[in-house]
């Protein structure tokens, strides 16, 4: 921050404080809106829930950017340092896609196993070879 005067730098700090506080308040407001505390019934509209979640996520990333660039002074580091710290975090994008997909799959498996358990219990008396085939057949009928 060498190119700023001391007074300017001080002002920027308090401006940063205001920005972070304001963004946090907006996030909380959007979150409460999403959960139906501000206008009841809104929590059942799935479009609102998804858009609100996106807004909150983007605002959080903005806060992270603001802290890194203005409070940790990443903006005054050389590009090599900036990139060597920030670029690796791009791996997390894939991490999120992969593991959320995985989590979804765990949920679906669990439901499938429950379904199989139920059908097995019902059909316990009838001997049969391929249970999975039978479930699928039943579903088709």
């Amino acid at each position: 921050m060498g190119h700023h005067s001391y007074e300017d730098a001080k002002k920027m700090v308090w401006k940063g404080c205001g920005v972070l506080a304001a963004v946090t308040l907006i996030e909380v407001f959007v979150s409460l809106l999403q959960k139906g505390h501000v206008i009841s019934g809104l929590e059942d509209v799935s479009a609102v829930v998804i858009i609100a979640a996106l807004i909150i996520g983007i605002l959080s990333i903005y806060k992270a950017y603001y802290i890194i660039y203005n409070f940790m002074h990443m903006s005054s580091e050389v590009p090599g340092l900036r990139m060597s710290v920030l670029l690796p975090t791009a791996l997390l994008i894939w991490g999120m896609i992969a593991f959320f997909q995985e989590g979804n799959s765990w949920g679906e498996r669990r439901e499938l196993i429950k379904e199989k358990d139920r059908v097995t219990a019902e059909d316990a008396i009838k001997p049969q070879g391929m249970l999975l085939k039978k479930i699928e057949l039943e579903k088709l009928q």
């Binding site: 001391y6 404080c17 909380v28 959960k35 505390h37 979640a53 909150i56 802290i67 340092l81 975090t89």
Partner: protein, 331 residues
Amino acid sequence: MATDTAVHDEVHENDQDLWSGGKKPFKASYGKLMMWYFLLSDAFTFAGFLIAYGALRFSSPSWPVPDFVFSTAPFGIHHAPLIFVTFMSFLLILSSVTMVRAVQEGHRENQRGVVFWMFLTVIGGAGFLGCQAWEWNNLISKECMTVLRNPFGTHTENGVYLNADGSQSTAEDDTFKPGIGYLMHHAHIGEGHAHGDHELTAEEKFLEEANAAVAAKSLDMENLPEAGVDFPGFRLNNEGFIQRKFVTESGVAAAQEYGPKAFGALFFFITGFHGFHVLSGVAFLLIIMLNAGSGLYAARKNGYEMVEKIGLYWHFVDLVWVFVFLVFYLL
């Protein structure tokens, strides 16, 4: 040939220049550069935990609603979703701001300024830890959530609760729809606290009657039967929790169950890991503040670089909280 040798010599000379020491790669000191890389690795640790939270949440058919779970604040405030945790966020933001001020005073070699602003930062960090201690204590001792047990469940169907005597409730508060959260109460817990002058809510009324019914049976609460004890309007499970009965829209009679177990473990583990970062941050801030006060860094004449390094760490703690706040409380 002659030119080749000249080029070779030049390269050789440059190499020697680079390797002779005294050159800062990326124009940052060793300590600062390594702090950045440590923070990068720490960011991956936290990201791993938070992504695990997401994966488990996606795998679960229901999940406790954060605005219901985190709706209590000190001084007897209830039903105030996210208020307390927003206050905690402000504390961290403020302590981050005072930290930037300390670093700025360090650049001006102003010893008194550094110590003053670092002291405020320590207070902010300690205040955050105090709030977290209150939040944990409330969850563990009042709401009975532990690493292995999560009494916060979620309804998946429309339905209506039964009264303690087994009749269907007519109170408006006792009907629910999918996605509405509930907290299973421990018998006798919550019975003692005064309800003040306000009218009892439907749930408080139910709990009073349920607790009275449990007390009337004079059960051995330490050794409840494995299958629990059945009452007309609820079931008392073997751990002493009151599982309120209800009837769903499709006519199924059911009772409250524990929520996904992973919620408690993830909550205590991740916020605990963050809290541990805050705790060690406060400890290092204190040490560096004392060193600064003793004139150690003034003698180094490097613009209080140590303060800058702990500043990087402290801002990172705030940065992680942005995402913990997002994942646990906002979404």
